[in-house]
Structure formats: C-alpha cells, structure tokens
C-alpha cells in the first residue's frame, strides 16, 4: 500500500534556484527517508529524519518533519543541473515489519 504522496509530481526550475518538494503520509512513523533516483540508476539515500526530529541538514539539502500534520519537505538550495532526478519519500511506519512505504516521487528538472 502506498502511504507517501509527494507534491508536486513534477517541478522545473532554473539553476541556482531553490527546489522544495513535499511529502504527506497517513500513519505514525518511526522515521521518514528521502531518496534520489537519477534516470536509469538506482535510488540513493539522502537523509533519514526520525519522528522526534524536526529538521535535518546535509550539504545543500534541508529536510523538515511535522508529525502533527504528517508531512515532510525536502529543500534543495542553489540547485544545479546535476540535481535533475526523481525524489522519493519513504516512511518507516510505526509497528510495521520494517517495510518502507514509498511515494510516487517528484520529478525535478533543473535547467542550465
């Protein structure tokens, strides 16, 4: 079953701009994870944020988590053409058997 829903489905921006993607989910979670998938490649883990954390940074990436709204956002600052990829959120739902629940992804295009 799908839990995460990313918004928007597709995003096109210019190099240097910031990109914000959102993820909503339905049940209580242990953690929420963001992944990147370049065309024709495997998924790459970006950031894991635990349910008791509100914000996390990694380089140009900033992830926030609002458990009261069951939502998360991924901000990529000063985007580059190399950031062009699909971005997925996945939730590790509380009480489940370690099965991540995946969204359908946001397709980001960064134009030079």
């Amino acid at each position: 079953s799908q839990q995460g829903e990313e918004d928007p489905q597709a995003l096109s921006i210019q190099e240097g701009e910031n990109a914000t993607m959102n993820c909503s989910y339905k049940t209580s979670i242990n953690n929420l994870q963001w992944y990147r998938q370049n065309s024709g490649r495997g998924l790459v883990h970006l950031i894991l944020i635990r349910s008791n954390e509100r914000e996390k940074h990694s380089g140009r990436l900033r992830v926030t988590l609002d458990t009261s709204k069951k939502s998360s956002s991924l901000l990529i600052t000063a985007s580059r053409a190399a950031d062009t990829a699909s971005y997925f959120c996945a939730t590790d739902a509380a009480g489940n058997n370690r099965k991540l629940i995946w969204g359908l992804g946001t397709s980001l295009a960064v134009n030079p």
Partner: protein, 111 residues
C-alpha cells in the same frame, strides 16, 4: 567497492523462460530486499530477508522465488516469465530502521 551489486544489469528473454537475478551486499547489513519498479516509477516491495529468514512476502506470483544462502546474498528466481514481468528490479539492503542502499537495478525485458 560496490556496496550492493546485482547482476545482470540487463536481461532480455522470451516469454516462458526461467531466469535468475543475483544480489550481493558487502555492507554487513542484516536485511535485504527485492523491489520492482514499473514504468511509472512506482516502487513495490516484493520480498525481504533478515539474516536469511523471510520476513516480508508481498502478494507476488508464485513464479517469483527468493533465495538467501547467507545474509550477504539474496537472489531472485523467476519461472515462466510473462510480458507483465518486464520492469526494473532493485535489490537493497539496510540495518534495522536505517536507510536503504540500493543496487543499480536489473532491467528485465520479456519479449
């Protein structure tokens, strides 16, 4: 130093054939997974093993059978391949409640 490696990268085969995809991880992770990604990029969990024990077995046809000879390996065997099996299959591994490390995928095309 590939962390999760799966072979082959591409697999083109005729309907009705049997094929296997192999996966190995050198991260010391306890859990390994098989995912199927369709043309719309939706990721669907198929199987998961923890220390050679099957812990997730989603609703997939019986033609799909995973095998984990040890915790570093998880292979996927598919019998009587059908056109609808065409997809990209990803292997992944993780520690408990941790991020996943994915392989680069096997693009299966059934003709």
């Amino acid at each position: 130093d590939t962390a999760v490696s799966q072979t082959p990268k591409y697999l083109v085969t005729q309907m009705g054939n049997d094929k296997s995809i192999k996966c190995e991880q050198n991260l010391g992770h306890d859990t390994m997974y098989w995912y199927k990604q369709d043309s719309k990029k939706f990721l669907k969990i198929m199987f998961s093993y923890n220390n050679k024990e099957l812990i997730i077995n989603e609703t997939v046809p019986n033609r799909f059978s995973p095998k984990s000879p040890d915790k570093a390996h998880l292979n996927l065997h598919i019998n009587s391949l059908e056109l609808g099996d065409s997809a990209v299959y990803f292997c992944a591994s993780s520690q408990v409640r941790g991020g996943y490390t994915f392989g680069s995928g096997t693009r299966l095309t059934v003709v």
